[in-house]
């Protein structure tokens, strides 16, 4: 419950500083975040029309704890998850995404497809926030198991599919500070017996821009579920990173996060790494834009 109060408090803060809106002369606020993703969470940013984004993201193994340390060179010799994907700006407000992730949960070899639609833009019609909706579906392409009872037994082909819907509201307070709140619903067609198919979660993300090129980013996501507690081995999603924007169409990000997965259908339901036990990892994302 404590988490709920924190989230409600953050919403209240967002409203309280709403008067500090950037002067945009009636135009939409630009560059709330530097990338379409913050660390783990999607941001409200969409690609401009006809731009193609090629991205590679990587999550290494545990930096410390039982699986980290010197034997794995602090996790750098393990790959918890890898994403190779493309995003394309269909219009300035609609972005399509297609990517493959290795997968860190029980279902692996994932093909992830998403549509992001920027519904509202901060600054237009005195709108205090920008709002984007993301619909994502993820399909596991891993080989069907012969062992009944495991998730990838895939009794029905529908069991390969997972879904995620996220609503993101973000505000750029000034040139240095941006924040985002996220409400999301994640659904898996097949889960372990004691688990739940649908997970509702709330998230918060922020960016503090230090220089034109460098920003500090954080994000977190907390499932609103009595089952997903630390007693049951689940932990909130946490991420802290540095974002570099070169100005040449490149974006580079280094981060530390406790979750292993890169897809929402992976890192939200399977957030089972405890930072307190050293179960956090280095990650990076490289993004390159192309004109199409």
């Amino acid at each position: 419950m404590k988490v709920k109060y924190i989230i409600i408090g953050l919403f209240a803060c967002l409203g309280a500083v709403a008067s500090a809106q950037e002067d945009t002369q009636g135009r939409a606020v630009y560059g709330t975040f530097g990338d379409r993703r913050i660390i783990n969470t999607q941001s409200i940013e969409t690609l401009p029309a006809r731009k193609l984004d090629f991205r590679i993201a990587h999550r290494f193994g545990d930096l410390a704890g039982d699986s980290g340390g010197w034997p794995t060179f602090y996790g750098l010799e393990n790959a918890a998850d890898v994403l190779i994907g493309f995003e394309y700006g269909l219009t300035d407000n609609i972005t399509l995404g297609l990517g493959r992730t290795k997968g860190s949960g029980p279902l692996k070899q994932l093909i992830n497809m998403f549509v992001k639609y920027k519904v509202l833009s901060q600054g237009l019609n005195n709108m205090p926030v920008s709002v984007a909706v993301v619909g994502l579906t993820s399909a596991s392409t891993m080989q069907k198991s012969e062992t009944e009872g495991v998730l990838h037994f895939f009794e029905s082909p529908i069991h390969r599919w997972n879904y995620h819907l996220g609503i993101h509201a973000a505000r750029k307070f000034n040139d240095r500070l941006s924040a985002q709140l996220t409400g999301s619903w994640t659904y898996r067609n097949i889960v372990p017996a004691e688990d739940q198919n649908a997970i509702v979660s709330l998230g918060f993300a922020g960016k503090a821009q230090l220089t034109k090129a460098i920003g500090i980013i954080i994000d977190t996501s907390v499932p609103l579920s009595s089952f997903r507690t630390s007693e049951n081995g689940f932990y909130p999603v946490l991420g802290l990173g540095v974002e570099f924007t070169t100005g040449g169409g490149h974006s580079f990000q280094m981060n530390f996060t406790n979750v292993e997965g890169l897809s929402e259908t992976d890192f939200i339901p399977y957030s089972q790494s405890n930072i307190g036990d050293g179960e956090f990892r280095l990650g990076f994302t490289i993004s390159r834009l192309f004109n199409l």
Binding site: Y30, G31, P48, R50, D175, R176, Q209, T211, K212, A213, G247, G248, G249, L289, N291, L292
Partner: protein, 341 residues
């Protein structure tokens, strides 16, 4: 000798028999006398690159679409492939008149004029009046494009193709597209009212056009009132720190350069991935980089530009001294310093 009335009659006849194109009109839609027709009427053919009306699909409207949006569509066919993924003609060229006096190329006067008209200050010459010129890719553009400029120097069609392939980093235009662009450019040709003439000169020209004066005098007057080519001199960046030209920047003018020139491509990443805005972070970045020998230094990037390379075709064109003066660059520096404080 052809009087104004004769020009109109000839135009009507030509239109009626279907042999003419817009160029045959002696007057534009505002009633201004077209320079080309005026010169022709007193026996001087100033240029000979009229559109080839026998080309199927020729259309000034299609030419306008190519120039403004990089797309074209010939009647009965599908839309053609976008000319360039990176730029359109208007990324670097205005399509309006941009100089108060067409007989000189003065970036200071141009900045004031473009601000007044609400158009940007750009590194390339306006397409307004392009068809009245006889030479293209002049001066130091040979240093940048080498032998590629040779066929384009005296041939507007080759100049259009060079612009499409090298400047816009796009595909070569089809013949009908080139002719359509040319047809559109002919809708942007100079009119007599564009030329700065004294009352006496106007009288001399008017008398000649009416068939009662000396044509040679009128031709000399008209030909001296606009540039037949666009001069371009590439110069080195100013030596930073030493300010060898002993120029003091004016921040107020610098703001005009920043917002009317830099913003054209960089504001909200319009043509560039390097975004410029009015944030202090941006000005601090530009101030810190100004004295470096890198593409992020305003001195370096304005005078040298950046170059297209494999995998990153879009680039920033350089500003010849006729397009941005040393004074304007130093004004820009003063504005950046002020805003970074």
């Amino acid at each position: 000798m052809i009087s104004r009335i004769s020009i109109i009659i000839i135009s009507i006849v030509a239109l009626t028999i279907g042999l003419s194109f817009d160029i045959e009109r002696a007057y534009d839609t505002n009633g201004d006398i077209r320079l080309y027709k005026a010169l022709a009427s007193i026996g001087y053919r100033s240029v000979d690159h009229l559109p080839d009306t026998s080309v199927k699909g020729l259309s000034a409207a299609v030419g306008e679409d190519i120039v403004k949006y990089g797309i074209s569509k010939r009647e009965g066919e599908n839309k053609s492939k976008r000319q360039s993924k990176h730029f359109v003609c208007t990324s670097c060229h205005n399509i309006e008149r941009e100089d108060p006096d067409l007989s000189v190329s003065d970036p200071e006067a141009r900045l004031a004029y473009t601000l007044d008209k609400g158009i940007p200050l750009l590194p390339a010459t306006t397409l307004y009046g392009a068809v009245n010129r006889t030479s293209f890719y002049n001066g130091d553009y040979e240093k940048k494009y080498g032998d590629l400029v040779k066929p384009a120097r005296d041939d507007i069609r080759e100049a259009i193709q060079l612009c499409a392939v090298e400047c816009a980093q796009g595909r070569k235009l089809h013949d009908w597209e080139v002719e359509s662009v040319l047809a559109y450019l002919w809708t942007l040709d100079l009119k007599l009212n564009d030329l700065m003439m004294t009352d006496t000169e106007k009288q001399t020209v008017a008398t000649a056009l009416d068939g009662e004066g000396k044509e040679i005098d009128a031709i000399q007057i008209l030909e001296s009132k606009y540039l037949k080519y666009s001069p371009a001199h590439f110069v080195d960046p100013m030596e930073r720190g030493k300010n060898k030209f002993n120029i003091t920047g004016n921040a107020q003018n610098g703001q005009k350069v920043y917002e009317n020139s830099c913003f054209h491509c960089h504001y909200r990443n319009k043509y560039s991935y390097f975004n410029l805005d009015n944030s202090r972070l941006t000005f601090s970045f530009l101030e810190n980089k100004a004295d470096k020998y890198s593409r992020y230094s305003i001195y370096e990037v304005i005078r040298h530009g950046t170059f297209s390379k494999h995998g990153k075709a879009s680039y920033m064109p350089r500003f010849p001294k006729e397009k941005m003066s040393d004074q304007q660059i130093e004004d820009l520096r003063a504005y950046i310093n002020l805003m970074a404080e």
